[in-house]
Every structure is written in structure tokens, then in C-alpha cells.
């Protein structure tokens, strides 16, 4: 059903994103706890969430800092995790590419997984929606997620500060990554990519500077792409 105003488009996006709050909040909380456990201050943890605003990359950087990896490897690995954002940017451009420059800059900053996923589905459902309403819907999906992303990073950081340091929670971070991987394995190509990545990472674990991570990541991507092509040829 078409929206009558940009305002109703905003609130439709807002309502659609509400369930995603439940996913984002514990995630932000956990980041805050683990960041302070890794030695960051509350302010540094919050700065991380505000400046980077990409949970998976933040956790990746945190883990590699714990392992004392070189700065360049940390940046390369966390940005590699974020390469999907370029894909979001490309796929949302036909819908938002014509709005004013500064609004596109704002939208780019808030281009997080949930906002992208909800908006692109909506746009493909209703391609004739006016541009202003498309943008309003997008910011509607951002509203219940991103402010709470910041807020719960701070809450987690304050809780983390008060936890006794005798509790060893260093293994919680690996568990968080495993929990992120589970829902991503949607197709055989995803499973093949993940499996390749595990095998290559274990074989390459001896490489210096955590370089094996990037090798394994590249191998996983190539296998995923290959399997996808092969599957397409099977289905005609």
C-alpha cells in the first residue's frame, strides 16, 4: 500500500525495524563489556561504536588487538569484513542516488545491515515509491537501531568496568563470532565458503602477523563465488 506522506513512510520503517532492536541491543552491550575488558575506557568504547558503527568489524578489531596483531593487519581484516557495505551501497544507489548530496552522506553513514535489508526489500516491493518517501523509510529503519547501538555500548562498557577482572571472559568473543556465523549460512555456497575459510585458517595459523586470516578470507570468498556459479549452472 503506498504511503500518503513522508512521515508515514518514516514510521512504517520504524515499525519494521523494531524487532531488530532485540538483535542489536545485546550485541552493542556485549561489545561494550568486551571492549572494557580489553582495556578500553567507556569513552573509547563509545567512540568505536559511533565512528565505526559496524558491529562485526568492531568485534574483529577488538579480537585482533587482543592478539597484538599489527595495526595494518587489524585495519585490513576489519575492513575486509566490511566489504559487504560497498555491496549495500551499490545496490541501494538506484533508489537513493538522486537525493541531495548531504542526505546521501548521512544515509551512507547509517547504512547498517538492518537498515539495508529492510529498505531494499521495501524498494523492490514498491519501486514507484517517491524518492523522499524511500529516504524517509530508510531513516525510519535506522531510528530504533542506531541510537540504541550507541547507548547500549555505553551501558555494556559501564557494566564491563565494574566486573571483577578475575572472571575470564576472553572466550566469549570467539563465541560471539560463532553466533554471528550461524545465521549467515543460508546456502551451500555460504557453507562452502565458511568451511574453506576454517580449513585454510587452521593450515595457515603459523603465518606471521595474522596474515593467515586474510589468505583464508580470500580463499573462502573465491570458493563461495565458485560454488554459487556452479549452482546456477545446475539450475539452468
Amino acid at each position: 500500500m503506498p504511503f500518503t506522506t513522508t512521515k508515514s513512510a518514516f514510521w512504517a520503517g520504524f515499525r519494521a525495524a523494531l524487532p531488530f532492536m532485540v538483535v542489536a541491543l545485546p550485541f552493542a552491550f556485549l561489545f561494550g563489556v568486551l571492549a572494557t575488558e580489553a582495556g578500553l575506557t567507556v569513552f573509547e568504547s563509545l567512540a568505536f561504536s559511533v565512528v565505526v558503527i559496524a558491529g562485526t568489524a568492531q568485534f574483529t578489531a577488538l579480537q585482533l588487538m587482543e592478539e597484538n596483531a599489527p595495526t595494518l593487519i587489524i585495519l585490513a581484516s576489519a575492513l575486509a569484513v566490511n566489504l559487504r557495505l560497498a555491496m549495500y551501497s551499490a545496490s541501494i544507489t538506484p533508489h537513493l542516488g538522486a537525493v541531495p548530496f548531504w542526505k546521501r552522506a548521512f544515509a551512507a553513514y547509517f547504512l547498517v545491515d538492518q537498515a539495508y535489508a529492510l529498505s531494499i526489500v521495501k524498494y523492490e516491493d514498491e519501486p514507484d515509491m517517491p524518492r523522499d518517501q524511500k529516504l524517509a523509510y530508510f531513516f525510519g529503519t535506522v531510528a530504533p537501531v542506531c541510537p540504541f547501538w550507541y547507548l547500549f555500548t555505553v551501558v555494556g562498557a559501564m557494566v564491563g568496568k565494574s566486573l571483577p577482572s578475575s572472571i575470564d571472559i576472553s572466550f566469549i568473543l570467539p563465541l560471539a563470532f560463532i553466533a554471528m556465523i550461524g545465521p549467515l549460512l543460508r546456502t551451500p555456497a555460504h557453507v562452502a565458503a565458511a568451511f574453506t575459510s576454517v580449513v585454510v585458517a587452521l593450515l595457515m595459523a603459523g603465518l606471521p602477523y595474522n596474515f593467515g586470516l586474510l589468505v583464508a578470507g580470500a580463499a573462502g570468498m573465491m570458493v563461495g563465488a565458485r560454488v554459487e556459479l556452479w549452482q546456477e549452472s545446475q539450475h539452468g
Partner: protein
């Protein structure tokens, strides 16, 4: 961690890099579509990097000095199973942490 300077280089570097990735098409390139081979690889970035990050941590946990450890292996398996079948990240981490705690107490 080797200090505050490194931390801020990482925060700002990641911030600028992430914004650049989000902005590159929306702000600069415009409507020209990405080549299909590139999109096909980008679809698998997260699922290729994260397992590589976590696999060595599960097999050779730092807390045991790199010795493979049954409790951590079981915790990882439980977390994965819950995440895969229920798709809930938070509940999966809790289930894994509970497994780790129980097995560390029992074993």
C-alpha cells in the same frame, strides 16, 4: 595492547574506511552497476573472514596456553548449533557461555 595511539588509529582508520565503503556508490559512482563477478565475491566476505578469525581460537584457545580444550570445543559447538537453528545471536552466546561455565566447573 600497545597503547592509546594505536587504538585511535584503528578507530579512525576503521571509521573512515567503513564510511568510504558505504559512500563509494551512493555518493560518488552513481548508478553504474557493479560487475557481477565482484558482487559474487562480496556476498561471501563476512562468511569467509569470520570463520577464519574464530577457528584458531577454538582449536588453540589462548586461555589454556594453546592446548586444545574439550570445554571450549563443546561451548563452540553448542553456540554454533543454537545460532544455526534458532538464528538468535544473543541466545547462542548465552548457551555457549553456560556450556563453558558448566564444563569448566565439572571437568
Amino acid at each position: 595492547m600497545s597503547g592509546t595511539l594505536q587504538l585511535w588509529i584503528i578507530i579512525l582508520g576503521l571509521g573512515i574506511g567503513s564510511f568510504a565503503l558505504r559512500f563509494v556508490f551512493l555518493g560518488l559512482v552513481g548508478d553504474s552497476p557493479l560487475p557481477p563477478w565482484l558482487l559474487r565475491h562480496l556476498r561471501y566476505t563476512a562468511v569467509a573472514i569470520l570463520p577464519a578469525l574464530v577457528a584458531p581460537l577454538v582449536v588453540w584457545p589462548s586461555a589454556t596456553g594453546g592446548e586444545p580444550d574439550l570445554a571450549r570445543f563443546a561451548a563452540a559447538a553448542v553456540t554454533f548449533a543454537v545460532a544455526y537453528f534458532w538464528k538468535g545471536v544473543a541466545i547462542a552466546v548465552l548457551a555457549g557461555a553456560a556450556t563453558l561455565y558448566l564444563l569448566t566447573v565439572l571437568l
